[in-house]
């Protein structure tokens, strides 16, 4: 198992390098000249040239990439033009809200989704199955921005239970978490259900019953334990999507998180911030995949012993 984990971690390094290169190149493909933007439309050619040299934009692209990477390894992510501050100091305070939001959404969505999926599979074709699947389908179909606005209207404006926007107290996280987790809950519910239905038909489940095992144990220790392998994979991919997908929720609820920072930075052509954020989102995807792979190895002995 230790060998497996080390192998997975090592294989993530070249992947991250390739991604960093691609992000760097794509940012430079975006039309618009940052030096011209900074200098202003009425600046002379010479002024623009000076700024370009200051920013190091006159060097060949490959050289710029190496300078940038060297900076990253020294903890220097560049300078934000818009905020007139180092990129790191712009991004850091934005982490907390997004991460708390992601974790909250993921926790409730996973628990409820998996629970609904198991219930639906065990009660297949019965009213509970239909109820669970109606909840799941609604969760997938409702657009997040609409759900967010409806929640604000009902719970914040009409009932006054939660704040309408911002992050002033712990309660502030409730409505955004619901908005963000809804789709994942639905996906997990449907996925768990189909995976459970498949596993409940397996021969080893029949063996478990033939042993005299009680039905809840058969369902959890045999069917669900095997479904878990697939459920973890899907859940992992969803967390990755959540962090980046926070853009919409953060905008609706005016939360100063990473998602909104990304939108703002793109609008202001704040390239260094965009670049750093994209790198972070990629890294986060890779780390989550890594965790999923490792958990997967724990859950599936076939993977572990190869």
């Amino acid at each position: 198992m230790g060998k497996y984990v080390v192998k997975r971690i090592l294989s993530a390094i070249p992947l991250m390098l390739v991604i960093s290169f691609l992000i760097f190149m794509f940012i430079h493909l975006i039309p618009g000249d940052p030096a011209r933007l900074i200098a202003g439309m009425d600046a002379t050619k010479q002024e623009v040239e000076t700024i370009r040299r200051q920013l190091g934009l006159d060097k060949p692209l490959m050289a710029q990439y190496f300078i940038y990477m060297k900076g990253i390894f020294h903890g220097d992510l560049g300078y934000s033009i818009k905020n007139n501050a180092p990129v790191a100091s712009v991004i850091l305070p934005r982490f907390k809200p997004t991460i708390i939001l992601t974790i909250c959404s993921m926790i409730w969505a996973t628990i409820l989704g998996v629970f609904l999926g198991i219930i639906a599979a065990v009660r297949r074709g019965k009213p509970l199955d239909y109820l669970a699947m109606i909840i799941a389908i609604s969760g997938i179909s409702v657009p997040g921005f609409w759900l967010g606005l409806m929640l604000i209207q009902f719970f914040s404006v009409n009932l006054g239970w939660f704040p309408t926007a911002g992050l002033t107290m712990a309660k502030s996280y409730v409505l955004p978490s619901i908005t963000m987790g809804c789709g994942i809950m639905a996906i997990l519910a449907r996925f768990t259900r189909s995976s459970m239905l498949e596993n409940l038909r397996k021969d080893y489940v029949r063996t478990a019953r033939a042993k005299g095992m009680s039905e809840p144990k058969v369902i959890l220790k045999y069917a669900f334990r095997n479904s878990l392998i697939e459920v973890v994979t899907v859940a992992g991919l969803q967390i990755g999507g959540l962090l980046t997908g926070s853009v919409m929720t953060e905008t609706v609820f005016s939360i100063p998180g990473l998602g909104r920072l990304l939108v703002d930075s793109i609008n202001f052509r704040d390239y260094k911030v965009v670049q750093a954020l994209l790198m972070f989102f990629s890294l986060e995807y890779i780390i989550i995949n890594l965790i999923v792979d490792i958990v997967y190895g724990f859950l599936n002995p076939k993977v572990r012993y190869q």
């Binding site: 021969d203 080893y204 009680s214 039905e215 334990r225």
Partner: protein, 329 residues
Amino acid sequence: MGEKVLEVEHLRTEFKQEKKKYVTAINDVSFTLNEGEIVGLVGESGCGKSVTSLSIMRLLGDTSGRVTQGKILFKGQDVLSLSNKQMRNLRGGRMSMIFQDPMSSLNPVTRIETQMMETLLLHRTKDKAQARRMAAEMLKKVGIPDVETTLRSYPHQLSGGMCQRVMIAMSMSCDPQLLIADEPTTALDVTIQAQILELMKKLQREEKTTILLITHDLGVVAQMCSRVLVMYAGRIVEEAPVHELFYNHRHPYTQGLIDCIPKIGSGVRRLPSIRGSVPDLALMPAGCKFAPRCPFASDECRKNEPELLPYEGDPTHLVRCFRTKEVLS
């Protein structure tokens, strides 16, 4: 002849097809298993062998099937009237089962030791260390060479033959009085098959377990069983001691099955087969269910269904046919 272990009387199991529409998978199945005997249950695929075994174990729950008529007595106790909890105590303990495909019958994500101990902890002991010792002992009994390694293994690390040994060890670990073996060797290759059968026979001799051996292989029956039940289209069509069945069978279906066994030196080039196939459950013919495929069928056969009756007054040889006299052994 020992005590009666299992008595099945007029068992009928139906499957739900659509809303409120049921088809009968097995009908009027009656037989008795005595202590310490191995009885074969043979027939083509789809004739109701597995449904019979699942009905006895009350494991139809995960299908749409249910027993609608009849009685199943295990040691004189009515299995069908037991509560679910009482039934669970019986299953895996005094009444256990092994299945066709050993590789898929074991839980792929847990170690062999856990799976074996589960059964023991449910029925024999509350002490984990003792359960593990018993599991190890049982594995030794079924001829597994490296018991410790096997206990620590996952099913995918073992071969099919090994898995079936584990399954047998598991199902025999609580000293069952009845073992239902549903095609235990079909998925294994021939050399392993012989070993597994020999093992089952050995355990049966030592523990005096009654075995209901479900198979479609008459060779296995000849080697293992003392008595045979032949099933066709959800009914028992012939029941006889094994010698009587091979040399003096009276049902044309049994004859068909025996004719299908290749014989060395018989000079026949083309192996005979029974023409047609088992009828669809929803489209059962009237009269004798075998009549459409039977070379001896008369108008009477197509109109009325014969009953399972003793042949020439012999209570050990029962046959369901009007034309027993014409079937030549």
